[in-house]
Symmetry: C2
Subunit: 227 residues, 2 copies
Amino acid sequence: MDISRSSGRWAVVVASGGLDSCVAATLAAREYRLAMLHARYGQRTSERELRAFHDISSDLKADRRLVIHLDYFSSIGGSSLTDDRMTIPVDGVKENIIPLTYVPFRNANLFAAATAWAEVIGAEKIYVGINQIDSSGYPDCTQEFLDAFNRLVRCGTRPDTQVQIVAPLISLSKQGIVRLGLDIGAPMDKSWSCYQRSDRACGICDSCRLRLDGFRANNAIDPIPYA
Amino acid sequence: MDISRSSGRWAVVVASGGLDSCVAATLAAREYRLAMLHARYGQRTSERELRAFHDISSDLKADRRLVIHLDYFSSIGGSSLTDDRMTIPVDGVKENIIPLTYVPFRNANLFAAATAWAEVIGAEKIYVGINQIDSSGYPDCTQEFLDAFNRLVRCGTRPDTQVQIVAPLISLSKQGIVRLGLDIGAPMDKSWSCYQRSDRACGICDSCRLRLDGFRANNAIDPIPYA
């Protein structure tokens, strides 16, 4: 009854359109047919991120794309990414403090949707771009979280479902991610990371800072436009 | 910054509008202010379930309601509940076979949304109506799944978030659930369980059968209309 199943080995890629998921998707594309998943959840730069998602998917010749709407994050609030009454922090990532940009339990929601899709199409892997080191301190970007999610997948899906979530960038720094992206020819020029702007990246939000530092540390130029 | 937080002890209740979540919500209402969560995911009887959700919420004087749309389950397919090309089984629940009505990883998606809401409003508990015994054999209705999800919540939310998912019906039979519902005055007349029809319950789908058997075993009359 798996009406959507088809030939080939598949990986679902959870792709925001940002730098990390761009590199993760490029890794996945070396082994699997790609089923690219993007979630809109009321984030401020959602149109720009969606464009980046499609540009990256086209560049990597993805066979399938699914854009889902998690509108309830706007209703729920609690994050400066989805709530216009809150400001985007620009004062750098601090140790042991969870930033205002944290969207409550977001990755669990994304990964759960990805697992549902993976189960139906019979995907072997779900690639995600999370990384623990330069991840702004989000609790749902850790190895512990990933392990807990994989346990949940094993016991909460059909017995014959064999899908695993993999996070190949989990222990890389932003410098290491950019290095890897350069090495494997990831279409980083198509990616978008800025939390604030959609025309040119602001260059000052935490996400821009981490990205710019990653390119600088590789003596490379970030190919996207900055204000 | 928890802009939605307010006084009182809160529980989020994941409520389909069915019998089990009706009883679970009634239990929650004895201790907590209620934040009722309902998900629409393209199921055939979604309008009727939504009405049941609102009727139950009104009866229990819930302070908050949130209806979310998980439209992607229709796109993903793979279940007879969300795919009109598949038929609803009426031949009884079988041992060790996962029925066609299984919606892939649905409860993980629901519980993840509930956890996000709970984290923002500062709820102590998330009540869910899952039960392992008469649950049609769904893998995401087990104690093991629940334990795995609670581990995920502990490591994937803010350190100061203390929310726990509780499933007070997990080890009850349908007979036991109806007994409990009668004892605590759960508004079971407002609930809806049928997978197929919205005017009168069909009485023959697996969900109707389990429910009818539960009332019969208590020598009680199911108060909803049957065809």
